[in-house]
């Protein structure tokens, strides 16, 4: 890989991000079957093709920009946020939307206002809600184990072996289950005894969250990201969850549940930390992260969707110019100045 050099360019940062995602992918694959590998491949291929095409259309040099890996990071983040058992065109369309519209039509890497992966995800969630909820059953609870070839045949052809129904392979996510059961009036402690829940979050998915945390720690150690956004994101989410859990433990899930489920860890370390679409000043990063964390909690608890990382990130992306303008660090020797 010729593009790894000693000077930390976009390429080496993106490579580290991809590397940091690997443990989570391994755990994901272990608990939810090989479908994730298929969607990672699909997303990567689509992203590279779309990136090449758009770079050519924009008449900028293809190779240096293609090799910086930013398209691959977008593709992987999308594959990891979308249900892997969905039909092939879902991830392909999401990636196309992310790369072509959210990234290049907004001016390419560095100019895009919104996190491309989250735009792709949100567009698909709004347009195809049914397909976007085809989450595979965690391996420890599954009665049927789909082989790799059956997985391929399902993703590309939509056919399942024998008389198998799709319902037997998919399940509601922990956040989804919590939401529907709460609406039925069951208390949180009661719901948490259901088999899909693990020690603190969802079975299997809590370990993926742990792997994201490990990947995030690696990125922090490598100084690819700073602590501000993840800490503020997770801090705000945990603080809100703690406050409401202490207020009424029967209706509001515990803070560790919120940290370990859904897209919290992936969002905090890999999505909200996007250097292009996130805030850039240290104080701004804290405001940005806390805003995302707060909105994630609000959407999860009172909103219309079970998880809200994508929407929270997109909404805060819109506020970034304002946040950055108001949090300019004071130049040494100058007095306090209003922006």
């Amino acid at each position: 890989m010729a593009f790894v050099s000693n000077t930390p360019g976009v390429g080496s940062i993106m490579l580290k991000v991809l590397f940091a995602l690997m443990p989570a992918i391994a755990v994901y694959q272990l608990y939810f079957g090989p479908a994730i590998l298929v969607s990672l491949m699909l997303a990567s291929l689509t992203a590279m093709l779309a990136e090449t095409l758009m770079l050519r259309l924009r008449r900028v040099p293809v190779m240096p920009f293609l090799m910086d890996g930013s398209a691959l990071v977008t593709a992987w983040l999308l594959a990891l946020s979308m249900p892997p058992l969905a039909p092939w065109w879902l991830i392909v369309m999401a990636t196309l939307f992310a790369i072509v519209i959210a990234k290049h039509l907004y001016g390419g890497l560095g100019n895009n206002l919104f996190n491309p992966a989250m735009v792709g995800y949100a567009v698909m969630l709004i347009s195809f809600p049914a397909q976007m909820t085809q989450w595979p059953v965690v391996d420890t609870l599954a009665h049927i184990h789909l082989s790799f070839f059956d997985t391929l045949r399902f993703i590309f052809g939509g056919t399942l072996p024998g008389s198998l129904k799709l319902d037997a392979l998919t399940m509601a996510t922990p956040l989804d289950t919590l939401r529907t059961q709460l609406l039925l009036g069951r208390p949180v402690a009661d719901i948490a005894t259901m088999p899909i829940f693990g020690y603190v979050g969802g079975q299997g998915s809590e370990l993926i969250a742990l792997a994201y945390l490990a990947g995030g720690a690696y990125l922090l150690q490598q100084r690819s990201i700073t602590w501000h956004i993840p800490a503020a994101f997770l801090g705000a989410l945990a603080l809100l969850a703690f406050g409401l859990h202490a207020f009424d433990a029967a209706r509001y899930a515990a803070p560790w549940f919120h940290l370990a489920t859904g897209g919290a860890m992936l969002g905090a370390f890999f999505i909200a930390t996007d250097p292009v679409t996130g805030a850039t000043t240290p104080k701004g990063k804290i405001i940005f992260g806390a805003g995302v964390g707060t909105l994630v909690y609000v959407i999860r608890t009172w909103g219309g969707y079970p998880d809200g990382v994508a929407f929270a990130v997109l909404i805060l992306n819109m506020c970034v110019p304002l946040i950055d303008a108001y949090t300019q660090p004071r130049v040494f020797g100058h007095g306090k100045e209003k922006p």
Partner: protein, 227 residues
């Protein structure tokens, strides 16, 4: 002030100063109602009729209205004409009237109508004002039709759905199912689809014009000072 020619007025309305793609006026109905070709064209034609009528009416009285209160007078005339159109739609194509709903009375507040009366009809003769109003409206209708077609095709995989609202139940067979078994890309029918679609149309027009400008032989090149 010299009178513009008919050719100029038609060219401006349909392409050069197109309300939808260049002036970007009257965006609210454009974005809200362009979910299908039938809706889009219906509202576009209603707007074009209002614009032709209001331009004509205001051109006739342009020398009688005191400058200070002209806007109020124009709006009153436009509102009266819109009410007439609204009643006509209600009487003759009632189902369509129900679909378009609030957007028919809202033609009154559509800034393109007032913009043309103020910028054109209050300064020009009757016939050319009518032509200007109608052509501007027709330009808007064309953009609406393309945008509506795009959104309907991508969003639902059909074209001309809802045509029976205009021509009665017999025309239901005219609906084109361009993409059978199409799941429907819901975003295209939702409001964001309108913004993306319009953005792409504007980009397309600009791209076309830039290309045309590049390929056209530059005549005044001999006049340019050479270094």
């Amino acid at each position: 002030m010299s009178q513009p020619s008919y050719g100029e007025v038609i060219g401006n309305g349909l392409w050069k100063q197109n309300t939808g793609l260049v002036q970007l006026l009257g965006m609210c109905p454009l974005l809200a109602i362009s979910t299908s070709v039938v809706n889009a064209v219906s509202l576009g034609l209603a707007t074009a009729l209002v614009m032709a009528a209001s331009n004509g009416a205001i051109s006739l009285i342009r020398n009688l209205v005191p400058k200070e209160i002209r806007i109020a007078v124009f709006i009153l005339i436009i509102a009266a004409l819109v009410t007439a159109i609204q009643l006509a739609l209600n009487a003759f194509v009632h189902p369509l009237y129900l679909v378009l709903g609030i957007f028919i009375p809202l033609i009154t507040t559509n800034c393109i109508v007032l913009a043309r009366t103020e910028a054109f009809a209050s300064k020009n003769r009757f016939t050319i004002s009518v032509v200007d109003g109608f052509m501007m409206g027709l330009g808007l209708t064309l953009v609406l039709a393309v945008l509506g077609g795009l959104r309907e095709l991508v969003g639902k995989g059909t074209l001309l759905s809802g045509i029976d609202l205009v021509f009665g139940a017999t025309s239901k067979t005219w609906v084109l199912h361009v993409l059978p078994d199409y799941k429907g890309f819901l975003l295209a029918v939702l409001p964001p689809g309108a913004f993306f679609g319009l953005g792409l149309l504007i980009a397309g027009k600009n791209w076309y014009e830039q290309r045309a400008a590049r390929t056209k032989p530059a005549i005044p090149i001999s006049l340019a000072p050479h270094a």
